[in-house]
């Protein structure tokens, strides 16, 4: 793409509030993509999105198998919601998602954080949600820079040519 570069984007602040594989990876891919392009990136995790940066949970992310009308069987047939309720199905579907992402060379969550922070991207946790889920700094990945308030998040988002993205 050779778009006009009159006002190139300088900074993106990405908010991830959900803890499913696809929600977390959407945020990670967008943040890493920004860093790769030389765009400053701040990634802010809140509510169930905190699972992605919680040491105990970050490698156990799942895809929800109920209430997702876009979910299909391998081969494209519809995936009945009632099937998604059976024990083990969610784990199986999640394992499959992860293996398909690995096949595309998409890194695991912690390695993704490494890529993002190596390029100067910053990872933050939401103070209110961390208090709600009784999480302390030491429960979180070492890539998390700080636990911050909404006000501090908006301070980080200050400046021209900044976008806030809520995944």
């Amino acid at each position: 793409m050779s778009a006009e570069k009159e006002t190139p984007l300088k900074k993106v602040c990405i908010i991830c509030a959900k803890g499913t594989i696809e929600d977390v990876y959407a945020a990670l891919i967008m943040a890493n993509g920004a860093v790769m392009e030389g765009i400053e990136a701040k990634l802010f995790f809140t509510f169930f999105g905190l699972d992605a940066i919680t040491k105990k949970q970050m490698h156990k992310l799942h895809t929800g198998t109920v209430g997702n009308p876009a979910m299909r069987m391998p081969g494209g047939l519809p995936f009945p919601t009632i099937l998604g309720m059976l024990p083990g199905v969610e784990a199986g579907v999640s394992a499959m998602m992860k293996s398909q992402m690995a096949a595309l060379d998409i890194p695991p969550v912690d390695e993704f954080f490494e890529l993002i922070t190596a390029g100067g991207g910053e990872i933050y946790a939401c103070k209110l949600a961390a208090e709600m889920f009784k999480l302390k700094k030491e429960d979180l990945s070492e890539h998390v820079k700080d636990i911050i308030t909404v006000g501090q998040f908006y301070e980080l988002a200050a400046g021209d040519h900044t976008q806030i993205i809520f995944t």
């Binding site: 890493n32 993509g33 790769m36 392009e37 030389g38 060379d105 890194p107 890529l115 190596a118 390029g119």
Partner: protein, 103 residues
């Protein structure tokens, strides 16, 4: 197709300045492209450029992650050597096409 002069040689480039004939590349040309990007190349830069060219000619898709695992440079140093958008900048200086991946 446009032509551009680097280090006294006429190089075929596309509209974004990427070489369309990687075989026209050499170290002097690379130095001239780098200066245009505001960089002075060191041995470390050339080690990365050589690696990128090898992988490109082997038909592999280049990603920052794969460069970081190459043993030539880690991700942090890659960003430090080619500040801003390292993969885009380094492939331009290496005289190979701009990578198209999202990760």
């Amino acid at each position: 197709m446009a032509q551009k002069e680097f280090a006294g040689q006429m190089i075929e480039v596309n509209e974004e300045g990427y070489f369309t004939k990687p075989e026209q590349w050499n170290q002097e040309v690379a130095g001239a492209v780098a200066r245009e990007e505001g960089l002075e190349l060191t041995e470390k830069h050339f080690a990365v450029l050589d690696y990128l060219r090898k992988r490109h000619f082997a038909g592999e898709a280049l990603t920052i992650r794969s460069v970081g695992k190459s043993g030539v440079v880690d991700v942090k140093d890659f960003y430090a050597l080619f500040p801003g958008a390292p993969l885009k900048k380094a492939t331009k200086i290496a005289g190979i096409p701009k990578p198209t991946g999202c990760i």
